[in-house]
């Protein structure tokens, strides 16, 4: 395949990995729990 396509493919794969969905357990493993609280999502919040 041409290098440009290969390069784009590599970028996509990297992004897919870094944007993989994170479960609550993932976040509990990645972030501190003691000394921190998970903020309530405000009712008014509309994800962009």
């Amino acid at each position: 395949t041409n290098p440009e396509l290969y390069n784009q493919l590599k970028i996509e794969q990297d992004l897919d990995y870094r944007n993989r969905p994170l479960t609550d357990e993932d976040l509990d493993n990645m972030l501190p729990s003691d000394g921190y609280e998970i903020m309530e999502v405000p009712a008014s919040y509309i994800p962009k």
């Binding site: 972030l31 903020m39 999502v41």
Partner: protein, 87 residues
């Protein structure tokens, strides 16, 4: 497909924020940070040594990158936000 740029390794979806006003509300946090993309979770420090800090997790890495670039040094209630990529 839009041409995607390579994202530097230190960029990630979790921002570590310091210098937040102690009484900042979740509405304010979601307002300020939600402007740049979908928010997966926010954890706010509630202990003596973690007050004024928070972890803001974005759904998408571009959201976190845009937020950090726009909000570093942003003034919230007289305090300048310090934002770092969490590693």
């Amino acid at each position: 497909m839009s041409r995607k740029q390579r994202i530097p390794p230190e960029v990630n979806r979790i921002l570590y924020v310091r210098n937040l006003p102690p009484k900042v509300t979740s509405e304010e946090m979601y307002d300020i940070f939600g402007e740049f993309g979908g928010i997966r979770q926010i954890r706010r420090g509630n202990a003596h040594d973690s007050r004024g800090t928070a972890f803001v997790v974005y759904e998408d890495i571009y959201g976190a990158k845009a937020a950090l670039e726009a909000l570093n040094g942003f003034n919230v209630a007289g305090r300048y936000l310090i934002i770092l990529y969490y590693s």
